[in-house]
């Protein structure tokens, strides 16, 4: 029997090899799935991974990649910070919603004033909203030792209810003929998060995502706080002896991830989405968890992972429309990516041993 043996040290090779191997396995097994459905697997894979970047409509779709990747990257970087320290914020989706509501509320409150400070104020309010929503599980954890996974996840549903309320009452467009949804920010220049470079799909959210990636990378590698985060995740006991204050760490990690998720929500509501509506959130907060792990919890890796994930969305839609694939097949394909990632990840900490080799090793 082949058995798994724990490696004395995590394999550096597999740490970096896992994502590409997982992507490759997803392509192969996904291709088999598509072939079983009667589609040409090569054509489907090409439509998903190649066409959005180099195909006929790439001039439009390339920009859409960053639009889609921006919020994923921004949220995932914040989550990765906590995940590294063993603090599990699963409720980024809720923080994203509350950030969007708070930011939008600031903009809508002063409608139709034109002032250059309106958008910056909305950005601050957005980050604050997300931070506030993340502070609930953080404080419950540090004060009452509740489980932040459960609390942050449950707060997503609370946030969705508040979102529904916002779109049907307190943020509802007074000129919307009774229909739910706020005013559209596209018609309000001072509050609009427009494109800075339209062909790249770059708006302030994209800028924030890329700048944050660099800042957090520096924090993790160069700053004492980054060292504490890594230490707390790898050796909690050692971290305590080293003077790491667990309460402060939880508050900091939850706070940063919440604020970043809130920022992502604000950039989305004032930009691509355009308005607060009942189903404004489309799962970025949850997908970002996959992105964080796909990017190895490393800010620069997350940037790549965010683009890869965006590619499967944009390309998946193309495959769905042009080749008649059911949307469920695309979702299975995306799910496979996480599945294989976690599966291959075993090799980072474990290795396969054949019985003979194990016996020899034992004899030594």
């Amino acid at each position: 029997m082949i058995r798994l043996e724990k490696r004395p040290n995590p394999s550096r090779f597999w740490l970096y090899a896992t994502p590409p191997v997982a992507v490759l396995l997803t392509m192969v097994v996904g291709g088999i799935l598509f072939a079983a459905m009667g589609k040409n697997p090569i054509e489907v894979i090409r439509t998903i991974f190649w066409d959005p970047i180099f195909g006929e409509f790439a001039f439009y779709l390339r920009g859409q990649l960053l639009v889609k990747a921006g919020p994923l990257i921004l949220i995932a970087i914040g989550l990765a910070l906590g995940f590294r320290a063993g603090i599990w914020n699963i409720g980024a989706e809720g923080q994203y919603i509350i950030g969007a509501i708070c930011g939008a509320a600031v903009g809508l409150a002063v409608f139709p004033t034109e002032n250059r400070l309106i958008f910056p104020a909305m950005v601050i309010a957005g980050a604050f909203g997300g931070w506030l929503w993340a502070m609930i599980p953080a404080i419950l954890k540090t004060r009452f030792n509740t489980n932040e996974i459960l609390v942050s996840l449950m707060l997503v549903y609370v946030a969705q209810t508040i979102l529904a309320k916002a779109s049907t009452s307190f943020l509802k467009n007074p000129e919307g003929m009774g229909f739910p949804g706020s005013r559209n920010f596209n018609t309000y220049p001072a509050a609009k998060n427009g494109y800075l470079i339209e062909s790249l799909g770059l708006h302030w959210g994209g800028v924030a995502a890329l700048v944050t990636a660099v800042l957090i990378y520096i924090l993790l590698t160069r700053h004492i706080a980054g060292f504490q985060i890594r230490l707390a995740g790898q050796a909690p006991r050692a971290a305590r002896f080293h003077g790491v204050n667990p309460t402060r760490l939880v508050v900091m990690c939850m706070g940063i991830s919440g604020a970043l998720a809130g920022l992502a929500g604000l950039f989305e509501v004032a930009g691509p989405a355009g308005q607060i509506s009942i189903d404004f959130n489309t799962g970025y907060g949850f997908t970002a968890i996959i992105v964080a792990f796909l990017g190895r919890l490393n800010p620069l890796g997350i940037v790549l992972a965010g683009f890869l994930m965006a590619l499967t969305y944009v390309g998946g839609e193309m495959a769905s429309t042009n080749l008649g694939l059911p949307s469920a097949a695309i979702q299975v394909f995306q799910g496979m990516l996480l599945f294989f990632l976690l599966g291959v990840d075993v090799l980072t900490n474990y290795r396969f041993r054949l019985p003979a080799a194990a016996a020899t090793a034992g004899a030594k």
Partner: protein, 363 residues
């Protein structure tokens, strides 16, 4: 600005290639595209729209090419899907959910040669955007009549998707019709805040049944509420929604509202083919054949069936309007005077419950 310019020129080129100038004289071939909010296998709303698309294919054969995309989220994603479709050469795009309203109008501005048809919305910001809707509330009046006569607990339920006017019309019409035949009836409303999520829809049905409700109407897209009602062993009945849902016949599904989009889709694509296409705002009901009442099964007594069918026929004949005064709003203020019927504008913007409903709006 650059992208918009590129898009505009791309659409122009497409328009020319496909005979933009020949528009008035019709087209040889139409590429018709559909954007769906749920999967085509939802057995309800999206299923019916897709049936309409298939009817178009059947009718025009190889003169039409059908493309569709399922489960498109409302919001920013819809805009991208619509743009991809327009770039991909679709001549007419049907967006089949209320939440696609802004996206439809935004993309329509960039592709003036592509026709856009938005279901259940009211914005027609550009000459190439039409809207179409069905008077579902007429069917709710038929269901309310059955519910009022069939309930033993005097508690009837309604699973709301979102508190938008279309749903408010449905709840109010359902309640008013039930109250007409049973003055003691109470309606409970549960908001699912989704169009399609079988798990949430089943939970909503469960919550209603736990409150003692024994007739459930749903304004969501799946068959889950009926599946939940079926577990009550005959004590709870319900209705097919959007589609006939005949698998649950004869009980718990005792009747249904069937959205019949096929005639409209066939007509609009026909008009595009023969060059008579014009911008429109259509709101047809039972009389126009857009809302069909599915078979009322033997699970209800004959007199209930007869009463329900009379409501249906009177609405079709135009002698009965489900909203006929005197009707007050929930807060006690006046809405419709004695004998007055609701103007379409009030129905399209309805954001209140009528008097007698004790449920609260999510505010």
């Amino acid at each position: 600005m650059k992208r918009r310019h590129l898009l505009a020129s791309a659409s122009l080129a497409l328009g020319l290639a496909l005979g933009g100038s020949a528009f008035a004289q019709g087209m040889d071939k139409v590429k018709a595209c559909f954007v769906y909010v749920g999967p085509i296998g939802d057995g309800g709303w999206t299923y019916q729209h897709h049936q309409g698309a298939l009817a178009v294919q059947e009718k025009y054969g190889d003169k039409v090419e059908i493309q569709y995309q399922e489960s498109v989220p409302e919001g920013a994603d819809a805009e991208r899907v619509l743009t991809q479709m327009a770039l991909g050469g679709c001549n007419i795009i049907f967006t089949t959910s209320f939440g696609y309203m802004d996206a439809t109008n935004a993309v329509a501005a960039k592709f003036p040669d592509v026709k856009f048809e938005h279901a259940t919305g009211f914005k027609r910001d550009h000459a190439n955007v039409s809207t179409y809707n069905a008077r579902f509330y007429e069917g709710r009046a038929v269901q309310g009549t059955i519910a009022g006569m069939m309930t033993k607990s005097n508690k009837i339920g309604y699973i709301g998707s979102f508190p938008i006017p279309e749903v408010m019309n449905g709840i109010n019409a359902y309640y008013l019709a039930a109250k007409k035949v049973n003055p003691d009836v109470q309606v409970s409303v549960v908001w699912a805040f989704t169009w399609f999520d079988p798990a949430k829809e089943a939970d909503a049905a469960k919550a209603l049944i736990d409150q003692g409700v024994d007739v459930i109407a749903a304004h969501t897209d799946s068959t889950a509420p009926l599946a939940e009602a079926a577990k009550a062993g005959g004590a709870v009945i319900g209705f097919g929604q959007a589609s006939d849902m005949e698998a649950y016949k004869p009980s718990p599904r005792v009747s249904s509202i069937i959205d019949n989009w096929a005639p409209y889709y066939v007509e609009r694509i026909g008009a595009l083919l023969d060059g008579t296409y014009e911008q429109k705002d259509v709101w047809a009901g039972i009389a126009g054949g857009e809302v069909l009442i599915g078979e009322i099964t033997e699970a209800v007594p004959a007199e209930v069936k007869a009463a329900a069918e009379k409501v249906r026929d009177d609405i079709a004949a135009g002698t009965l309007h489900p909203f006929t005064g005197p009707i007050k709003k929930q807060d006690g203020s006046d809405w419709l005077a004695e004998g007055a019927t609701a103007p379409d504008g009030d129905l399209l913007g309805m954001d209140f419950f009528v008097e007698g409903i004790t449920a609260e709006l999510p505010k």
